[in-house]
């Protein structure tokens, strides 16, 4: 098989699936869901073919998509090492989540729309992965945003989902605004947006890159990966179905921001990288505090995602893109696992999402509880689980290169353990605190199967040598760098200390809780501060309600008053007034009319006499 045929099939398969679903199976949800799952299976097959067929070589293929004046845009593919990694993550996790969705969405009324949306997502995500130029990435970037919009709005009859979907799209657009400008500036400074050519060009003339350019390009990443200050959309996006959260808002799409950074890492100057370091570390800490006080199981996971994305960003900022990708991969496993676990819980508890309404689920849902615990341990960095390797690599790098960032990240690590164990204890331990929790029971194999698979990956995913070389190739250089760093032992101690402290504190605090949050009772001020999320939602609300909408109304008033009013109506009014004056001359009396003749004659004669200066 020709490689480009495979690539095209890979790209078009989900697109066609979505199209067919839209056109034919709108009312036939079951067929649509099966089609979609089959599609994701197909994607997995094609992806694996691509990963293993290429003999670790870079595959690229190109055709002209658009030619306008001196701007020529290629439609092309670039399948190199990072692309293979992401392709694996996307297709594998995607496949599992498709299967999970079969169970989770079994009795949903709009299955066709849901699975169609998933197919659109797969299409655009694969597009980002294999695109070979920035404009193409931007195209799929926007399409990913669109599918995210579509899936968040799945339960569009609820006000929450309607608002959340809108918010997600618009906030992403704000990021894209910068990204777009970045692309335009890149084009006019470098003359190309093709990644390979760009890399060569930067290599040849490093003065092309500049801080401003880097920051502009980074805007796209900030929006999509929900980094400060555009992080507000992600928690709200949890209004969508849980598998969607797992796939899009945890494992793949938000990680695409990191992937973008990795793809264009040659475009960033030292300053930009430093900025990323601080940005990521801050995000890790901030999201940790926010997660600590959430009651909604999905929101906790969402903030945890934010925090882990912060780690990846920090890793990238510290100059270790491989490590960032590594964490991306492991995070995809355990975060998808936990989201799916939470989905399983939610599904079992009749869409109850408040963790304080759960309790004691371990006995009722043993598989879910166990796999969830694996996820918790992995993310907390328990030794020799997948999260341990990637996270400790980040911490070690920070420890050796940048102490302040390390300190922030380390506090974040303790917090991670704390809130993850909090989630586990409140949900699965103790007594059932509500009707729905007490009547919960384990879900079917369609849902537990992916959980188990992901749990296994979460345990062993950190051993990069277990993976085929074709997948983990991009990680190796940086992993070797980290392996060569000093202070390994010290880091093991510190890491262990972090998760142990977090776990024990959580056990003490949350081991036996009622309907109320014990932290709120003990330190109300701290709790309130965390709950406020540093007032970002309020600031955005304030912006929309007090700045944007009044501004729009102000412009509308200006339009009515000055343009439509003063300019148009005003000139019409002046004309009307003059018309009335003109009309008023017609009084019908001969002697008043004769004044016109006198005046005219005087005027003419005066003109002849040169009174007007001719």
């Amino acid at each position: 098989m020709e490689t480009e045929t495979v690539v095209f099939s890979l790209l078009l398969l989900p697109f066609l699936s979505a199209l067919v679903t839209l056109l034919c199976f709108r009312k036939l949800g079951n067929i649509a869901s099966l089609l979609s799952v089959a599609t994701s299976g197909g994607i997995l097959v094609f992806s694996l073919f691509l990963i293993f067929n290429g003999e670790n070589e870079v595959f690229s293929w190109q055709t002209t998509w658009l030619r306008m004046s001196n701007w020529e845009l290629g439609f092309g593919f670039l399948i190199d090492a990072p692309a293979r990694l992401l392709l694996f993550v996307v297709s594998f996790v995607g496949f599992l989540i498709h299967i999970f969705s079969l169970g989770y969405m079994a009795d949903d009324g709009a299955k066709a729309r849901y699975f169609g949306g998933l197919s659109v997502f797969m299409f655009s995500m694969i597009g980002i992965t294999i695109a070979d130029n920035l404009i193409m990435i931007f195209v799929f970037w926007e399409l990913v945003g669109f599918s995210s919009y579509l899936l968040i709005a799945h339960y569009f009859t609820t006000e929450e989902a309607a608002q959340a979907s809108k918010k997600a799209f618009i906030v992403n657009r704000v990021g894209d605004f910068g990204f777009l400008i970045g692309i335009v500036l890149t084009y006019w400074t470098a003359g190309t947006v093709n990644l390979v050519e760009l890399a060569d060009l930067v290599d040849f003339d490093p003065t092309i890159v500049s801080t401003v350019l880097g920051l502009a390009l980074a805007c796209g990443f900030i929006g999509k990966s929900a980094q400060f200050p555009l992080h507000i959309w992600l928690p709200d996006a949890m209004a969508g179905p849980t598998p969607v959260s797992a796939l899009i808002h945890a494992a793949t799409m938000v990680a695409a921001g990191i992937y973008l950074l990795v793809r264009i890492d040659f475009m960033f100057t030292e300053q930009v990288l430093a900025f990323f370091g601080i940005l990521g570390a801050g995000m890790g800490l901030y999201a940790g505090f926010c997660a600590l006080v959430q009651r909604d199981i999905k929101k906790i996971l969402a903030y945890s995602t934010l925090s882990q994305l912060g780690y990846m960003t920090a890793a990238f900022g510290l100059g270790m893109p491989g490590i960032a990708l590594f964490h991306l991969m492991t995070h995809a496993f355990f975060k998808a696992l936990m989201f799916l676990g939470s989905g399983s819980v939610i599904h079992a508890c009749h869409h109850e999402q408040d963790i304080f309404k759960y309790g004691g689920l371990r006995k009722k849902m043993p598989v879910t509880a166990l796999t969830f615990l694996v996820g918790v341990l992995a993310i907390s960095g328990v030794n020799f689980l997948s999260g341990y390797f990637s996270k400790d690599a980040i911490l070690l790098t920070a420890y050796n290169t940048n102490m302040p960032i390390f300190l922030i990240l380390y506090v974040g690590a303790i917090l991670t353990a704390l809130y993850m164990f909090r989630l586990y204890f409140i949900t699965f331990e103790g007594e059932s605190r509500s009707e729905s929790a007490s009547s919960a029971h384990e879900n079917g194999a369609l849902m537990t199967g992916p959980l188990i698979l992901l749990a296994i990956l979460s345990i062993f995913g950190g051993y990069h040598s277990l993976f085929p070389l074709a997948i983990v190739e991009p990680l190796l250089p940086d992993i070797e760098l980290v392996a060569a760093m000093p202070n390994h032992m010290w880091m093991i101690v510190l890491g262990t200390f972090a998760w142990v402290v977090g776990g024990i504190t959580a056990r003490n605090l949350y081991g036996r809780v009622g309907e109320a949050d014990p932290l709120e009772q003990k330190t109300p001020v701290f709790f309130a501060l965390c709950q406020s999320k540093l007032f970002f939602d309020q600031i955005y609300g304030f912006y929309v309600q007090r700045i944007q909408d009044p501004c729009a109304r102000f412009f509308e008033v200006m339009e009515l008053l000055f343009i439509s009013g003063l300019m148009v109506r005003g000139s019409a009014g002046v004309a009307g007034l003059l018309a009335l004056i003109g009309k008023a001359f017609y009084v019908g009396k001969i002697h008043s009319y004769s004044f016109w003749f006198v005046a005219g004659t005087i005027g003419f004669l005066a003109y002849a006499a040169g009174v007007f200066g001719n």
Partner: protein, 543 residues
């Protein structure tokens, strides 16, 4: 005469002829009228598509030319000259597509005095096809007027609230615009000593005796403001939203979608290439005005609560991008402007069509009185979401390429970067009002008013006759979005030759990669000259 020429002439003559038949009152039965009208709208559609596909731009210039020197005022060197070139053929096809959709909508609209309505609409269609097919500038203007005047009558007869006063206001406003642009065209006619009053003759005459810069400045100014009023350039845009809100759907579709492109077409195809120095001199002012369209009108669109006026303001807002494309005075900007014109014509007419569908179901255009329609009318919701996203420039729809190209062209000149930053804000603004509308109409729960309305009028999803026009337009939009080369190659060929004068002045700011051979990059060791020393005058076009 070849088949293609017959198609070209027929696309004007058939609707005109059908409209005369309808005016004259032949044939009583309603089905006869409807079928005849369908023929009248179908022929331009087919002609548009066929000619679009048959168009061969490799020779450059005009194809399918029909020339008749004795028709027209000899005195003013006016001749009857039809033909299509790379810029007009996509627009011509677009006019056919939108015309068919508008025609289908009108045929099924159930308006009273349907015969008259269809006759007027067909007159408009004939004018629109003629407009883009004219090579002669006078006939270009004349056809525009043929399309414009039925608009006033149709707004006056079948419009919504305040139709009489709005019809009057629009008429005066647009007549002023048309007169000013006529003044500009006359100035061109008088000042240029050309053999004929069409673009090729004018440009060959100008290439020998160029006009003085001050003259160019004046004439371009006349054309700019005349056309600007017709295209709703800020601050002359107030008629647009008001008029579209009031006009019957098919009229809004044809006017906002196609007729409004008249002015932009004139600026891109005629004014800027013929008066390059004038265009350059006006460019700074035009940039600001276009920004006014994008930011100011965009903000006004956010504040709208009425769906149709929101769509109206939105369409005005997007016109700003086309103006930006013109203002940058480069072939990239102009070409992207044309692409955006085509896509915008399709998307905005789709939006008007869909908002009327919404109105039919909800009985109101007030967005606060809707909500939750998505569960009741999923197909409509699907179309509406697609149309909104197309309007706000989502990739996959044609609008994206146009907008992106305009942004790209703004990046070319560092002086324009400021405008790039502000203009790009438009993608956020349009997302805000577009998605807000979707959320208000289709998401959430139904409002009390809607429930009340539903009791009397049960809400049904789109019927086949409603899907058909929307589907035609949407598929055209998708075609543009997925395969932009389909039109960009034609536009590019034509625009590049037209804008050669303008772009030669700007080759200085070409990016380094365009100045380098790709081969040099690969073995960059052999390249010893520093970048700065590469002569900047090396043209980029010779690829």
């Amino acid at each position: 005469m070849t088949t293609d020429q017959i198609l070209l002439l027929g696309s004007i003559a058939v609707p005109a002829f059908v409209s005369i038949i309808l005016f004259s009152g032949l044939g009583r039965s309603e089905s006869f009228v409807k079928n005849l009208a369908l023929v009248g709208f179908g022929f331009p559609f087919i002609a548009g598509i066929v000619l679009f596909l048959n168009f061969d731009g490799s020779k450059g210039g005009y194809c399918f030319e029909i020339f008749h020197p004795r028709m027209g005022l000899q005195e003013l060197k006016i001749t009857f000259h039809l033909g299509l070139n790379g810029v007009s053929s996509p627009l011509f096809a677009m006019a056919g597509v939108v015309g068919l959709a508008a025609g289908l909508t009108a045929i099924h609209s159930g308006a009273d005095r349907l015969r008259l309505f269809l006759a007027l609409l067909l007159t408009m269609q004939a004018g629109l096809m003629g407009l883009f097919a004219s090579v002669d500038l006078f006939f270009y203007y004349l056809f525009h007027e043929f399309a414009l005047i039925p608009t006033f009558i149709m707004i006056g007869l079948w419009g919504g609230r305040d139709r009489r006063s709005i019809a009057l206001e629009i008429t005066i406003y647009l007549t002023l615009g048309a007169l000013i642009s006529l003044g500009g065209l006359v100035a061109l006619n008088v000042m240029v000593d050309a053999e004929k009053f069409d673009f090729p003759s004018l440009s060959s005459a100008l290439s020998q005796f160029a006009l003085a810069e001050s003259t160019q400045f004046k004439i371009f100014g006349l054309l700019l403001f005349g056309f600007g009023i017709l295209v709703a350039l800020f601050p002359f845009h107030t008629w647009a939203a008001k008029g579209y809100e009031c006009a019957p759907t098919s009229v809004s579709m044809l006017h906002a979608g196609v007729l409004k492109k008249f002015g932009l077409y004139g600026l891109i195809q005629i004014a800027a290439p013929l008066l390059p120095e004038g265009a350059l001199a006006w460019s700074p002012y035009l940039l600001w005005l276009a920004l006014g369209n994008i930011i100011f009108v965009g903000a006004v669109a956010i504040a709208q609560k009425n769906l149709k006026s929101m769509v109206g303001y939105g369409s005005v807002m997007h016109m700003g991008y086309c103006f930006l494309g013109i203002a940058v005075c480069s072939s990239l900007g102009a070409g992207s402007g044309v692409m955006l014109m085509v896509a915008h014509g399709l998307s905005v007419s789709l939006m008007f069509l869909l908002s009327t569908y919404v109105y039919k179901r909800s009985g109101t255009f007030e967005m606060d009185e809707m909500g939750g329609l998505g569960t009741k009318t999923p197909i409509l919701a699907c179309f509406f979401v697609a149309a909104s996203l197309a309007t706000i420039g989502l990739p996959g729809f044609g609008n994206f390429w146009g907008e992106f190209g305009v942004f790209l062209s703004l990046g070319q000149n560092p002086d324009h970067h400021f405008f790039l930053y502000l203009a790009a804000l438009g993608i956020i603004i349009s997302a805000i009002f577009g998605l807000r509308a979707v959320a208000r109409i289709f998401y959430g729960g139904s409002s009390d008013e809607l429930l009340e309305h539903e009791k009397k009028n049960p809400i049904t999803d789109l019927s086949f006759s409603e899907i058909l026009p929307a589907g035609v337009i949407l598929s055209a939009l998708l075609f543009l979005g997925l395969w932009p080369r389909g039109i960009s190659d034609r536009i590019d060929q034509e625009i590049n030759s037209r804008y050669s004068q303008l772009s030669s002045e700007q080759s200085m700011s070409l990016p380094p990669c365009c100045l380098l051979d790709k081969g040099d990059l690969e073995n960059n060791q052999s390249l010893s000259i520093p970048l700065e020393k590469i002569p900047s005058s090396k043209p980029s076009a010779e690829k």
